[in-house]
C-alpha cells in the first residue's frame, strides 16, 4: 500500500514532516529561498497554468496525477519511495548488515558530498533551460519543458531534504549554497562542467534530456543501491520522474530525425537547411557533443573515491542486485583501454573496484545505443541510406584517461593540428548553432508545430496533440 502524500501542509510530504518540528522549521526556512531562486532562475516565459503531472502518492497508482497547475504554485515537496522493512546492505564491506536509517559518523563527509553533487545538477538544468520557453516549437513541447523543470526543482527538494534531515547545520549551509551557485556563472558556477554548458536551442534540449539526464538516471541508480536507506528511497522515487525526462529526449530527437527525413524525401536532397529542416550532419554533431560532454560526468575511468564509496556501501553499481559476483570486488581485475602517445591503443590491467566509473559508463553507453537504433530505424523506414551513431568514448573528452589526447569519432588518436583542422566536421560550429538558433521561433497555436520537428505520435496522458497543454499568460 503506497503512502499518500500529504498536500495539506506547507511542504507536501510523505515523511511525516509535521511530527519533526526541527526539520519542519529548517525546511520552512529554505522554502522562500527556493521560491526566490525559482522566480529569478526558473522559466522566463510567463504562463497562466500548465498541464502537469504531480505525484499524489509514491505507489504505482498515485505518482502520475495530471491537472493544469500554475507553475509557481507547483507543490514541490518530499516524496520517498516506500520503506522496505528487511532491506540489507547489498555490497561492500558491510554487505548483509541491515541498511542504515541514520548517517554513520564515519561516512558523513562522503555522503554529504555525494548528495551535494547530485543536488547541484538538479537546479542547474532548470537554469540552463530557462530561456527555452521563449522558442518552444509547440504547446506540447512547452508543457514537457515545464514538466521537466518542475521535477528538477522537486529533485532539488529531495536532496535538500536529505541535507536538512541528516547533516545538521553544515547540511543546511550546503542546501543554501545549492541556490547560490548558478549554471555558467563566472564567479559561482555549478560543480560539474556539463551543467555550465548552455542549452540554447531545442535540439540541444532534446539531446540534453536524452544524454545528460540519462547520466542522471545512472547516477541515481547507483545511489538507489546505497546502504543509507533515506538516500536509496529518495533516489528510487526520483528515478520514476527521471524516466519522463528521457522520454522527452528520446522522442524529441525521434521527431527531429523524422522531420528531417521527411524533408530529405520531399526535396530529394540532404541539404534541407534551406527548407527549414535540420540536416542529419548537424544532428550528428549535436550527438557527438552532448554524448561526449555527458561521458565526462562519469568522472575518471579509475577512481579511488568511487572505490571507497563502494567499499563503504555508499554508492553501488547499476542494478547491483542482479550482478553475479561477490559484491566486494577486492579480488578481481579488468582491462582499461588507454591511448598512448605513439597513437596506438594500449590496455592497462587494474582491479575491478577501481574501475567502477567505467563500469557505470559502459552501462550508460549500452543504453544510449538504443536511442541511436531508434533514430536509424526512422531513417531506414524513410528509405534514407544514412546512419547516425555514437562517437568513440574517447572523442572530445575533458575528464579521465582520454582527456590529454585528441581522438576522432572513429577512435583514431590524432595530433593536435589534425584535430583542430577536423573538429569542425565533428562538433557544432558557431555557424551550425546560429543556423539551429534561426529555426527557433515559438509556435504557441494549438495543434501547430515548428517546421523543423515532427508532431508527437501521442499526446500526454491520452490527450491529443491539439490539447491546450499550456495557457499562456
Amino acid at each position: 500500500m503506497a503512502s499518500p502524500i500529504n498536500y495539506d501542509e506547507k511542504i507536501p510530504n510523505n515523511v511525516d514532516l509535521s511530527s519533526d518540528r526541527r526539520l519542519q522549521r529548517a525546511l520552512e526556512g529554505w522554502q522562500p529561498k527556493f521560491m526566490n531562486w525559482w522566480s529569478e532562475m526558473g522559466p522566463t516565459l510567463e504562463t497562466h497554468d500548465v498541464y502537469l503531472r504531480t505525484a499524489v502518492s509514491v505507489g504505482r497508482a498515485g505518482w502520475a496525477h495530471f491537472d493544469h497547475v500554475k507553475l509557481d504554485e507547483y507543490r514541490w515537496g518530499i516524496f520517498l519511495a516506500e520503506r522496505e522493512q528487511e532491506r540489507r546492505i547489498g555490497f561492500g564491506e558491510h554487505r548483509g548488515e541491515p541498511v542504515w536509517q541514520q548517517v554513520p559518523g564515519e561516512y558523513r563527509a562522503d555522503l554529504q558530498r555525494l548528495i551535494v553533487i547530485q543536488g547541484d545538477t538538479e537546479p542547474a538544468s532548470v537554469e540552463q533551460q530557462r530561456h527555452l520557453g521563449l522558442t518552444a516549437p509547440s504547446l506540447y513541447d512547452l508543457r514537457n519543458l515545464f514538466q521537466v523543470n518542475v521535477e528538477e526543482g522537486r529533485h532539488l527538494w529531495a536532496m535538500v531534504y536529505l541535507l536538512h534531515a541528516y547533516f545538521g547545520r553544515e547540511g543546511r549551509d550546503q542546501a543554501e549554497d545549492l541556490l547560490l551557485r548558478n549554471s555558467g556563472s563566472p564567479d559561482s558556477p555549478r560543480i560539474l562542467g556539463a551543467f555550465n554548458e548552455e542549452t540554447a536551442d531545442w535540439l540541444a534540449f532534446y539531446m540534453f534530456t536524452y544524454f545528460t539526464d540519462r547520466d542522471g538516471k545512472y547516477q541515481l541508480g547507483t545511489l538507489k543501491e546505497s546502504a543509507f536507506d533515506p538516500l536509496s528511497r529518495t533516489c528510487e522515487f526520483m528515478l520514476k520522474e527521471e524516466a519522463h525526462h528521457m522520454f522527452v529526449g528520446t522522442t524529441g530527437v525521434d521527431r527531429v530525425v523524422a522531420r528531417s527525413a521527411e524533408l530529405i524525401r520531399e526535396h530529394d536532397t540532404f541539404d534541407i537547411a534551406p527548407h527549414g529542416g535540420i540536416p542529419l550532419e548537424i544532428i550528428q554533431k549535436y550527438i557527438n557533443f552532448h554524448y561526449s560532454v555527458s561521458l565526462d560526468l562519469f568522472g575518471s575511468e579509475t577512481s579511488t573515491n568511487a572505490a571507497n564509496y563502494y567499499t563503504a556501501g555508499l554508492k553501488g553499481r547499476w542494478q547491483e542486485g542482479r550482478r553475479k559476483d561477490d559484491h566486494k570486488l577486492t579480488d578481481t581485475g579488468g582491462l582499461l583501454e588507454t591511448p598512448r602517445p605513439d597513437g596506438t591503443w594500449g590496455a592497462e590491467e587494474l582491479s575491478t573496484i577501481l574501475m567502477l566509473n567505467l563500469d557505470l559508463r559502459n552501462e550508460y553507453i549500452a543504453d544510449c545505443e538504443h536511442g541511436v537504433t531508434r533514430w536509424n530505424r526512422i531513417l531506414a523506414e524513410a528509405g534514407i541510406d544514412r546512419k547516425l551513431r555514437l562517437p568513440h568514448p574517447a572523442f572530445n573528452r575533458h575528464v579521465g584517461v582520454n582527456s590529454a589526447f585528441h581522438v576522432s569519432p572513429d577512435g583514431e588518436i590524432l595530433d593536435e593540428a589534425t584535430w583542430t583542422r577536423a573538429s569542425d566536421k565533428w562538433l557544432p560550429t558557431s555557424q551550425d548553432l546560429t543556423f539551429v538558433q534561426s529555426l527557433m521561433r515559438p509556435v504557441y497555436e494549438r495543434g501547430k508545430i515548428a517546421s523543423w520537428v515532427a508532431p508527437p505520435t501521442n499526446g500526454i496522458n491520452g490527450k491529443p496533440f491539439e490539447y491546450e497543454y499550456v495557457h499562456l499568460a
Binding site: 563527509a109 562522503d110 563566472p186 564567479d187 559561482s188 558556477p189 579511488t304 572505490a307
Partner: protein, 532 residues
C-alpha cells in the same frame, strides 16, 4: 640521486620573473616521477618536484635581487596541489619517506626565511583544490589567497584518509603561525574534505577568498603591496648559481673546497672543508656543503657517522669571515643566511656528527660552527700524528660568527645551546687562538687526547658509535641538539618528524592493511584500536 636543477630543464615548475614579482607555477608532469612506479596526478609531488622548487627558491634569492614577491600558484585547471604523492609514499622505504619529508620541510622553512630575512615575500595564489602538502606549501607562504569557486578547498586530510600526520609542518603552522584556534584545528585536520570560502577565512585557514574573475587582479595587488614593504635593492644585479664542480665515485665526493671520503667498513664518511682566500669561497663552500649533505642523506643512508675536519690557514678563514660579516650588501646578507640554513640542515641531520680538530685545521669562527654543530668534538693535544717533530698544534678560535649570525632553529646560537642556561658572554672576550687543554677546560671540546692516545681513542669512539642502534642514536642526538626553547621550526622537526617517524612505522599506517598502503585501493584500512 642528484640535487642539481636548472630552470631551463625543470619538468614541474615554471619560473617567471617580471620585475619585482616572480611566479612559481606548479605544473607537474605526471609521467616524470623521480623514480618509476607512480604517476604524479593532481599536481602531487615527489622529491624531484621539490628539488626543482628548492633550486627555484635559491635562484630567486641569489640571481634575482630585484624580486620582492614570489607568487606560488598552479598551472593546472582547478587543482592547486594535492601534496606529496601517496603512491610514491606507500611504495617508498621508510628512510626515503622521512628523508623526503625532511627536505621538503627545509625548503618550506627556507621560503619563510626568505620572507623574514631577505625581503622576498611568498604569496600563495591558491587557484584550485589544495590538499595536504599542497596546503602546507601555501601555509609556508606569508599570505594565502583562495579562489572562491565553490569547489576549491584547503584541506589536511592526512589523518582521516591516510592515518599519518601532515608531513611538512601543517599542524604546527596552523596553530603557531596562523593562530587557528586549537579546537578548530582539530576539526579541520580530521575532515577529509577541508574547508572552502568564507568559513576558511573566518577560521584563519586562508587570508582571503576571491571570486575567479577577480582572482588574478587581487593576487597581483597583494603581491605589489608586499613588494612595497620589501627592503630588497632596486637596481642590484644578481649572481648566477653556476653548476658545482664535483667528482663522484665509489670512494666519495670531491668538490672544490669540500671533500668526502667513505669508509664503508666503519659506516662513516670523513668530510674535510678547505679554507681559501678566493673571494668566491664563502658562497661556494656553502653550496658544496649543502649539496654534500643532501646527497649523503639520500644516497648514503648506511654511512651513519660523519666525521668533520678542516684544512688550511685559519687567518684566511678569519679574513673571509670578517668580509662576510661586515658586508652590508644584499649579497652578503644572502650568503650569511644561506650558510645559516646549511648549518641548520646539519643540525637536523640524522647522522652522528663528530668533529676532529687536529693541527693544520682551521676551526675558527664560521667553520668552528661546523664543529659546534657536531655531537662531539675531539681535539688533538700534541703534534700532528704523522709528524711528531713538528711544533704545529691544533687551535680553535671564537669570533663574532659564533655569537649570533648563524642561529639554530631554536633561536639560540650553537654556543648558547652547548652551554644552555649559562652566560656565554664571558667567551666573547676570548679573542685569540685556544689550544687543546684550554679548549677542554672551557668546555669547548668533548675531549683533548694527546698524540699517544689519539689514534686509538678516536678509533674506539668511531667503532663504538657504529655499533649502536641507528634509531636510538637518531632520537638521542635530536634530543641533545635542540636544548631549551621550542620554535615553530624545532616543533616541526622535532615533534613532527619524530611522531611521523613512529607513525610511518606503525601497522596502522604502513602495515599491509594500514591506511597509507590501502589508500587508493578502494579498501578500508584495518586499525589496531589500542592507543599507545
Amino acid at each position: 640521486m642528484s640535487f642539481d636543477a636548472h630552470p631551463d630543464t625543470y619538468r614541474h615548475w615554471r619560473m617567471r620573473v617580471e620585475g619585482e614579482l616572480a611566479w612559481l607555477v606548479l605544473d607537474v608532469d605526471e609521467s616524470a616521477g623521480i623514480v618509476p612506479g607512480y604517476e604524479l596526478k593532481l599536481n602531487s609531488y615527489d622529491l624531484g618536484v621539490d628539488i626543482e622548487l628548492y633550486d627555484a627558491t635559491q635562484r630567486l634569492r641569489f640571481e634575482h635581487p630585484e624580486v620582492r614577491t614570489v607568487i606560488v600558484t598552479s598551472g593546472k585547471d582547478r587543482v592547486f596541489c594535492a601534496g606529496a604523492n601517496i603512491r610514491m609514499l606507500a611504495a617508498s622505504s621508510h628512510e626515503w619517506k622521512v628523508n623526503f619529508c625532511k627536505f621538503t620541510n627545509e625548503t618550506r622553512n627556507g621560503m619563510e626565511d626568505a620572507t623574514e630575512h631577505s625581503g622576498q615575500t611568498y604569496l600563495a595564489a591558491v587557484n584550485g583544490s589544495c590538499a595536504g602538502g599542497g596546503y602546507e606549501l601555501a601555509l609556508a607562504c606569508d599570505h594565502i589567497v583562495l579562489v572562491d569557486d565553490n569547489s576549491s578547498a584547503v584541506a589536511l586530510p592526512e589523518v582521516p584518509l591516510l592515518g599519518v600526520l601532515p608531513g611538512t609542518g601543517g599542524l604546527t603552522r596552523l596553530v603557531d603561525k596562523r593562530r587557528v584556534r586549537k579546537d578548530r584545528a582539530d576539526v579541520f585536520a580530521t575532515r577529509s574534505d577541508g574547508m572552502r570560502g568564507r568559513p576558511a577565512v573566518q577560521w584563519g585557514l586562508v587570508d582571503e577568498v576571491v571570486p575567479p574573475r577577480r582572482f588574478d587582479e587581487v593576487v597581483r595587488e597583494r603581491a605589489l603591496e608586499a613588494a612595497e614593504r620589501s627592503t630588497r635593492p632596486k637596481d642590484a644585479k644578481g649572481i648566477e648559481l653556476t653548476p658545482l664542480r664535483r667528482e663522484v665515485d665509489e670512494d666519495g665526493i670531491r668538490y672544490r673546497y669540500v671533500k668526502a671520503a667513505y669508509e664503508r667498513d666503519l659506516g662513516l664518511v670523513k668530510i674535510t672543508v678547505h679554507a681559501s682566500e678566493d673571494e668566491n669561497w664563502p658562497l661556494t663552500v656553502t653550496r658544496e656543503l649543502d649539496d654534500l649533505i643532501l646527497r649523503l642523506r639520500t644516497n648514503e643512508t648506511e654511512l651513519g657517522t660523519w666525521v668533520f675536519t678542516t684544512a688550511g690557514d685559519p687567518d684566511a678563514v678569519l679574513a673571509q669571515e670578517h668580509r662576510l660579516l661586515n658586508d652590508d650588501s644584499w649579497l652578503g646578507n644572502e650568503i650569511r643566511h644561506y650558510y645559516k640554513r646549511v648549518l641548520k640542515r646539519l643540525d637536523v641531520t640524522s647522522r652522528s656528527l663528530i668533529a676532529l680538530i687536529e693541527p693544520g685545521s682551521c676551526f675558527v669562527g664560521m667553520l668552528l660552527e661546523l664543529a659546534f654543530a657536531c655531537d662531539r668534538q675531539y681535539m688533538l693535544d700534541g703534534p700532528p700524528i704523522d709528524d711528531e717533530d713538528s711544533d704545529e698544534r691544533a687551535a680553535i678560535q671564537l669570533t663574532p660568527a659564533n655569537f649570533g649570525p648563524f642561529p639554530m632553529g631554536n633561536g639560540l646560537t650553537r654556543l648558547q645551546s652547548r652551554f644552555y642556561g649559562e652566560d656565554v658572554g664571558r667567551l666573547s672576550e676570548l679573542d685569540k687562538p685556544v689550544d687543546a687543554v684550554e679548549a677542554a677546560d672551557l668546555g669547548l671540546v668533548t675531549e683533548a687526547f694527546d698524540d699517544i692516545d689519539w689514534t686509538d681513542e678516536i678509533r674506539i669512539v668511531l667503532e663504538g658509535r657504529a655499533s649502536l642502534s641507528p634509531d636510538a642514536l637518531t632520537g638521542m642526538e635530536a634530543n641533545h641538539r635542540f636544548v631549551g626553547p621550542e620554535t615553530l621550526e624545532t616543533k616541526i622537526f622535532a615533534r613532527l618528524t619524530a611522531w611521523q617517524n613512529w607513525i610511518f612505522n606503525r601497522p596502522n599506517a604502513a602495515g599491509p592493511d594500514g591506511a597509507l598502503r590501502r589508500y587508493g585501493t578502494g579498501q578500508k584500512p584495518v586499525f589496531d584500536r589500542k592507543r599507545v
